[in-house]
Structures are given as structure tokens and as C-alpha cells.
């Protein structure tokens, strides 16, 4: 099912995704209320569940705060597609079960509000609004497993049970 997308620029730092003042929050719903509060105050209240965030180069630049992907998840964002990612943000997303897709072509060809869908196993992104489709390098199996299970903790629990 396609979802609406939101679009932000290059080098979006985790400070911009969720401000330092909310670092003492741990509830993802609460964090979600403050996502992009400074940079895009229009977003938090208007995101629908499953919406996709499009970002430019080096998405998630800066701090290690897992609060940033948690805030996106709490606000309803279902996946992040970017031209490139900063490594900590990228790992944090995978660990909380948030799909992160590297596809500069999809980002450049899409505008905010377009309807997008993606397939992690096949490695495809489709822009349903513009009837375009793009390929990306699928994840290694163990990472897709994290995403299927909803994150690292669930995958680890299953691994420990099967041991």
C-alpha cells in the first residue's frame, strides 16, 4: 500500500529531528509529538501512520541519540528513504525496526506529498504518483530479519529461544 511522503534536505541532524530538551523522554508517542519541532513545526501533528520520510544526503547527521528514529516512529513515520545516511542514525533505525533505504534517484524524483511504496526483499521503491520505480541494494539477510521482526530486541529474543 502506498504512503504519503514528507521531504527534508541535506545534513539533517539528530538535533533537528528531536531537540536535546526532549532527551529525558523515553515514550515514543511523547517523543513523536516533538519531531522536527524547530525545523518543520507543521509536521508532527500531520503525519499519518506509515508515512515515508524522504531526505537528502547524510540524513541523521550528529549525535547517537536513538530518540531521533524513535521520535519519527512515534510520529507515525514508517520508513526513511535518503540519498545517504549518517551511520549511527542508520544503525539506530534498523535496530528499532525502521526501514532505511538508500535511493538518491527516488529522493530526487519525488516531491513532498507523492505516494510511495517499497519492497525491502526485492529492493524496489515505487513512486505511485509519478509512475516511477527505482531499485536499491537490498539488505543482507540478518538485517532484513531485524526489520521483519520489528527490531533488534525481537530478533535477539527469537535467536535466544531457538538456541
Amino acid at each position: 500500500m502506498p504512503n504519503r511522503c514528507w521531504k527534508v534536505g541535506d545534513n539533517i541532524s539528530t538535533d533537528e529531528v528531536i531537540s536535546t530538551q526532549y532527551m529525558t523522554l523515553t515514550d515514543i508517542g511523547e517523543l513523536g509529538k516533538h519531531v522536527f519541532e524547530g525545523a518543520r513545526p507543521d509536521m508532527a501533528g500531520a503525519i499519518s501512520s506509515g508515512d515515508i520520510l524522504l531526505a537528502g544526503e547524510n540524513m541523521g547527521y550528529g549525535s547517537s541519540r536513538e530518540h531521533a528514529p524513535l521520535a519519527l516512529k512515534g510520529a507515525g513515520i514508517g520508513a526513511v528513504i535518503a540519498c545517504s545516511f549518517a551511520r549511527l542514525f542508520y544503525r539506530n533505525c534498523i535496530n528499532i525496526g525502521m526501514p532505511v533505504i538508500i535511493s538518491p534517484e527516488a529522493v530526487k524524483a519525488s516531491e513532498e506529498g507523492d505516494l510511495l511504496s517499497f519492497d525491502l526483499e526485492k529492493g524496489t521503491v515505487a513512486n505511485e504518483t509519478r509512475h516511477l520505480s527505482f531499485r536499491f541494494e537490498p539488505f543482507p539477510d540478518f538485517i532484513n530479519n531485524y526489520l521483519r521482526k520489528g527490531g533488534l530486541v525481537n530478533a535477539l529474543n527469537e535467536e535466544r529461544e531457538n538456541r
Partner: protein
Amino acid sequence: MSMTATERILARGAGKRTVKPGDIVDVAVDRAMIHDNNAALVIKSFNLIHDPGVWAPERVYFFIDHHSPSTSPKAVKHHDLMRKFAGKHSIRNFYDCGSGISHVVMLENGFAQPGEIVVGTDSHTTGEGALGSFATGIGATEMAAVLVKGTIWMKVPKTVRINGRGKLPPGSTARDLVNLVLRRFGPDGANYCAVEFGGEAFDRMNLEERTMACVMSMEMGAKNALFVSDEAGAETSVSTVEFEAGSVRPMVAVPSLPTNAVPAEEVEKDMIAVNQAVIASCAGALLGDLKTAAGILKGRTVARGTRLIVIPATRKIYNDALALGYIQALSAAGAIISSPGCGACGGHDAGILAEGEVCISSSTRNMPGRMGTGGTVYLGSSATVAASAITGYITDPRELLPCEGGDSVAE
């Protein structure tokens, strides 16, 4: 096949003879560091793991450095959670409020030894590579898994060697050279890479300056950073970027990226008034920074309309600075001295900016909102911060060399 320093460390951690860039390996963690900004999320994830236990409590380090002393009812609740968790799981390496910033304390105590694999819930964990470990930041959930398993997957990074030729000229600091490196690479120029510093200019750096360089490597995307001297036989096959230290001038990173470095003398022309000047962080409030600032400020006073905040990185640095007279000189000049910790760097407690205010800081980052919503941050060396605190606007520190009577602290 010969390997870089980072590859050798990861190969050992993975129990393999060799690894190469791009390999994904499971490595054994030697030390795991968790601080109070992320501990609550770590503990929350840990408790979701079935039948969790800490794999090796003696390898785990807890730090209260972000909200220190406690800054809000929520922050102190997290501190309480950490103390109870540590008690329950026999984690004795507990560095409570006032101990200082994790990375610097780890290095002061020799907890990130050459060849070790160190992970921390802080992006600037890269700083812990200053003694030659592989040190990198990870998120809270991943740390919960490390606490249980003692291992983590890593993609072996490509190595980029940064070679500094020659010596820094008088009046320029190691931070200025590193700011120049950041400008060259940009915010993602070393993404996912291991950064290796070498050449005369870097070989000459002391441990504090090395810590700063490894910390700031994060700002160009480095996965880890360490120093490998030419004599130690650096791999020549890696890509190398050369810098001439002899021509380095004081540099200021203008808003809103730490990599936006321009010469301080250029910024000075704009007469940018500063409401706040900050000497803080794991990259900007080490003993040498306090010495430099005290040397410039001794016998002078902070400008009216500017507040100068000094937050020594660790308790040891604070005590040494007291014994050496730096704190007295800074305080006499009008500085506010705050307790060791991360403080103003992340806008966690001391030193939040009001909307529209401008700050010059020796800390690590200047992205929008970093030091408070609507505030603007310029980054420079502790010398540049001290000089700017005296004039009240962003100033090239070469114009304000230590004045009469400053010699006893500035040597």
C-alpha cells in the same frame, strides 16, 4: 595481505587472521560505555530481552555526564535508574555526577587501550581512539544487545589517512588544524570510514589534542579515529589526504555545521557580537584549553554583555587547573565555572541560549538548536573563545596574546 590499524583490531576482535573493507564481522567488545542521556533507553531495551544478564560487568562503564548534577525531575529519575541497575548487575565502574565527560575520563584512566574494541552510547566515542583503540558510538538498543551478548556486528571500514606535514605556527592550535581538516572533508566526507592521523603535525600532538582530533572526526562522519605515526609503519595503500600545518591560521566554524570552518580573521571583520562564550566539551575543555584560556584572560576581563562559561571536561582537569592557578585566573576575569560534564555542548544544562542569541564555543557542534532553540553557535579553539570573550565579538586570538602577568599561567 597487510592490514591497516583498524583492520588489525577488528580482525583480532572477530577471531580472524585477516579482514578487508566491506566485510561484516561479529566482534567481541572489550569495553562498553553508557551515559545518562541514553541509559534509560538502554535499560528499557535490556529489560525487553528475555532473561537478560550483563555479559561482563567489569567491562561496562556507567557515566553521569550529560545532566550533571541532575537538571530536572526526569533526569534525576534516570540517574536513579542507572544507580539501581548498576547495583543489581554489579557494575562497579560507575562515574557519578561531577566525574566528567566519559571519553576523557576513560582515557585518563587508560580504559581504552591500544588494540581494544570500545563502544559507547555517544557519537563522540570516536575520541576514545586517541590511545589506539577502535572506538565507536552505537545506539541504545544496540548497547542493550551488547550488554547481553558482549559482541556486535561491524562492517569493516575503509581507512582514510590524514597526513599533517610540518609544524603549527605560533598562535594556531591543534583545533585550528582539525577545523581545516573538517572543512576539507565536509559533514559526510569520511562517512563510514576509519580515520588515521599521522605525519609530523599530528605525531607531535599530546594526548589531549589527539582526543580532540578523534572526537571531531565524528563531525565528518568517521566511524572511528586513531593515530598511527609514520614510524609505526602506516599502510601506504590507503587513500591519504595531505595538510600543511605551517600555514594553519585560527579557524572558526560558522553556523550551522561544524565543518563550515573559515579563518577567524575573516569572521572578525563582521564584528559578530557574542552573548555567550563557552569553553566546554571533550574537544574543548581539556587542561591545555584551560591553560590557553587562562593565559589570555589573566589580567583582563570578560566584556560587558558577554558571559563566559567554563566547564572543565573532568574532575581531574578541574583539580589540576585549580592547582595550576588557571581556574583562579579565569574566575577573576569574570568567567562562570561550572561542574565537570558535557554541559553547554548539547544544551543540556548550563549555558542554554535564548532565541536570537549568539555563542562562540570550543565545543563540538553548531547545528540548529544544538545549544537551545533559536540560538546560533560558532565553533573555535579555546584561544579564540577566550579572545572573543574579552572583546565581546568573534576575534582572531593572535591579537590577544597573553598580557603582562599572564606568563605564570601561559608560560
